[in-house]
Amino acid sequence: MNTREPHTALVSDLMDGRLRGADFHDALLLVTRDSKARSAWEAYHLLGDVLRTPELAPSPTERDFVLRLRARLEVETALSPPLGEAVLVASVPPPTGRRAGAANDQRFSWKWALGVVSLAAVTLLGWSMVERALDGDQATQLAKVQTPVGESVMLRDPRIDRLLLAHRQSGAGSALLMPSGFLRNATFELDAARVPPK
C-alpha cells in the first residue's frame, strides 16, 4: 500500500473542510510536522491558485523564489496567532484558545507570499496591456473618448453622430463601396458600436 495515500487523502479532506475537532487538529499537526503532508498541502494550494488565476502559472523563477522563501520561513520562529485557520477552512470554526505556533504562521505567510506574487503578476500584465492599448500606431479596440486629462467617458454627442453619418454616407469614391461598402455603411448602427468604458 502506498504510504503517501493517507497523507494526501487527509490533506485533501482538510482542504475541503470535511474535518472536525480532533481530526482537524491531527491533520494540522501532520501538515506541520510531516514534510510529505506539507508538500501535498502546498501543492493543493498552488493548484487551486493556478486554476483560478492564469497569471499564477508557475515559472521556474517564481518556483525558485517560493522555495527560497519557504526555506527562510522555516528558519524563523513565528509568534503570531493562528489566523490562517479561519481563512483556509471557512466552514469550520477555528479552535478556540489554541496557538498552533510556527506551522500556522508558515501557512499564513504562504498565502501572503502567493497573494503578493499574484498581485505583482496581475499588475505587470495589466500595465503592459494598458501600454499596448495606448499605443498610437494601433487602432484602439474600444470605442472610448479621451478627454484631455485621459479619462474615458461615454460618448453621446449628437454632433459627432452627425459627422460619422455624413462620412459613412459620402463613400468618397472607394472601390470597395459597391456593394460591400454601401451595405456596411447602411447597416452599421452607431449605437451598437458604442462600447461603454471599462
Partner: protein, 370 residues
C-alpha cells in the same frame, strides 16, 4: 530499331513539353489606369460576368482585375440575404438586403435589423432613407455611387501603387465556395483587407478590415445569401417612391472649394487625393428627432472627402459658436476612427477608415486664411 526510335521520340516529347510551356507569354501583366488586359482582351464595362471563354486563374489576376470582377458581379445579378457588420470590440449590426439589376439599372433595399428601424433604398446614385420612428424620409444623390470604372478613370493615382493583392486560399461563407484575397498596404498610412469572393460569380460575400498586425478591426459579411433571387425591380421602386405620411428632407450639398470657404488645404497622407468639397445647407424647422438625421453637419459647415481608392477620409470644419465647452475627441468604432480638435474659432473633425496617425496628418492639413 523501331523500339529505339520510339524511345527517342518519347524522350524528345518529354523535354519539348516543358520548354513549350515555359515559352508561353505570362497571362498576367501590371495594371495601370483603367486598361486591363485579360488573356489579351481588354475588359469592358459591359463584360458579362461569368461568360468569358476562359477566366484567369485566381493567382493570375491583378488587384484591379479582382476589383472589377467583384464590382461587375453585383451589377449583373439579383440576390437576397442577411448582412452582418461586426467590430473587434464585439458590436454587431445586421440588415436584410434585396438587390436587383436590370441592364444598367440597379435597385437595392436595405432594412436595418438592429438599432433604430430604417429602410434605405438605392436606385443607381439616388438614395432614399425612411425612418419610420420619426416619420422622416431623406433623399439625396451621391456622386460616390458612380460606376466603378468611372471611379478608377477619375483617380489621380492607381490603387495598385498603394496596395498589393495575393490569394489567401479558399473558404466557405453562407454556404458558398469562395476565393480569399489578401489586400495588403504598401505603407503604414492605410489598413489592409481580406475579401471573400464567391468562386463562380466573383461577388464579395465577406470582407474584413485589418490593422498593421493583420488583426480584423471590423467584418462585413453575408450570413445568408440567395443568389439569382426573383425580385421585381418595379416593386422596390414603388416602395421607394411612396413617401406618403413622411416628412421629406432633401440633402443637396453645395459643391465649393477650400479657397471659397477661407481655407487652404495642405499636404495630406500619401496616396490620398481630394474627391469632393461641399458645404451642407442648413435645414430649418427641424424637430428634435429629425435634427439627428437631418442636417449632417451644423449650418455653414464644410466637408472635404479623400480617398486612396479603397479607404476614405472626411474632413469637417464647423464654426465654434456656442460650443466653447467642447473637448477634443478621439475615438474609434470598428475600422472607423475620429479626431476632433479646435482650430481658432472652428472645430475641425477628421473621420476615416485609416490608422490614427493618418487621421492626425489630415487634422494638421487645413490652414485658415481669413
Amino acid at each position: 530499331m523501331k523500339s529505339d526510335l520510339k524511345h527517342s521520340l518519347y524522350c524528345v516529347a518529354l523535354w519539348a513539353l516543358p520548354v513549350l510551356a515555359w515559352a508561353q507569354p505570362s497571362p498576367s501583366s501590371p495594371v495601370h489606369g483603367n486598361l486591363i488586359h485579360m488573356d489579351g482582351k481588354t475588359a469592358s464595362r459591359s463584360m458579362p460576368s461569368g461568360a468569358a471563354p476562359r477566366q484567369a486563374e485566381p493567382t493570375e489576376r491583378s488587384l484591379m482585375q479582382w476589383l472589377l470582377r467583384i464590382h461587375e458581379a453585383s451589377r449583373s445579378r439579383a440576390y437576397v440575404g442577411t448582412f452582418v457588420v461586426s467590430t473587434a470590440d464585439g458590436a454587431m449590426s445586421s440588415s436584410r438586403i434585396w438587390h436587383v439589376c436590370d441592364g444598367e439599372q440597379q435597385v437595392e433595399r436595405i432594412d436595418a435589423l438592429t438599432g433604430e428601424p430604417r429602410s434605405t433604398f438605392r436606385h443607381n446614385d439616388r438614395v432614399v432613407t425612411f425612418f419610420p420612428g420619426s416619420r422622416l424620409v431623406q433623399t439625396e444623390r451621391r456622386q460616390s455611387l458612380r460606376s466603378f470604372p468611372d471611379v478608377v478613370a477619375n483617380q489621380d493615382v492607381s490603387i495598385a501603387e498603394h496596395y498589393t493583392v495575393r490569394p489567401g486560399g479558399t473558404d466557405r461563407v453562407a454556404g458558398l465556395e469562395t476565393q480569399v484575397l489578401l489586400i495588403e498596404p504598401r505603407d503604414r498610412w492605410r489598413f489592409g483587407y481580406r475579401i471573400w469572393s464567391e468562386r463562380q460569380t466573383g461577388l464579395m460575400v465577406k470582407m474584413q478590415t485589418l490593422d498593421s498586425a493583420a488583426h480584423p478591426l471590423e467584418q462585413s459579411a453575408f450570413s445568408e445569401l440567395q443568389l439569382n433571387a426573383s425580385i421585381h425591380k418595379e416593386q422596390l421602386l414603388g416602395m421607394m417612391r411612396n413617401t406618403q405620411g413622411y416628412q421629406v428632407q432633401k440633402h443637396d450639398p453645395v459643391q465649393t472649394t477650400a479657397a471659397a470657404e477661407g481655407w487652404v488645404l495642405g499636404p495630406v497622407a500619401a496616396g490620398f487625393h481630394l474627391t469632393s468639397c461641399s458645404r451642407q445647407v442648413a435645414q430649418p424647422n427641424q424637430t428634435q428627432s429629425a435634427s439627428m438625421h437631418g442636417s449632417r453637419a451644423a449650418p455653414a459647415s464644410v466637408q472635404w472627402t479623400f480617398s486612396d481608392g479603397l479607404a476614405s477620409v472626411s474632413l469637417f470644419v464647423e464654426p465654434l459658436e456656442g460650443r466653447q465647452g467642447m473637448q477634443e475627441v478621439a475615438l474609434s468604432m470598428g475600422a472607423t476612427g475620429l479626431l476632433s480638435r479646435r482650430v481658432q474659432d472652428w472645430w475641425l473633425t477628421v473621420v476615416g477608415e485609416v490608422p490614427r496617425h493618418t487621421l492626425q496628418v489630415f487634422s494638421q492639413s487645413l490652414q485658415r486664411v481669413r
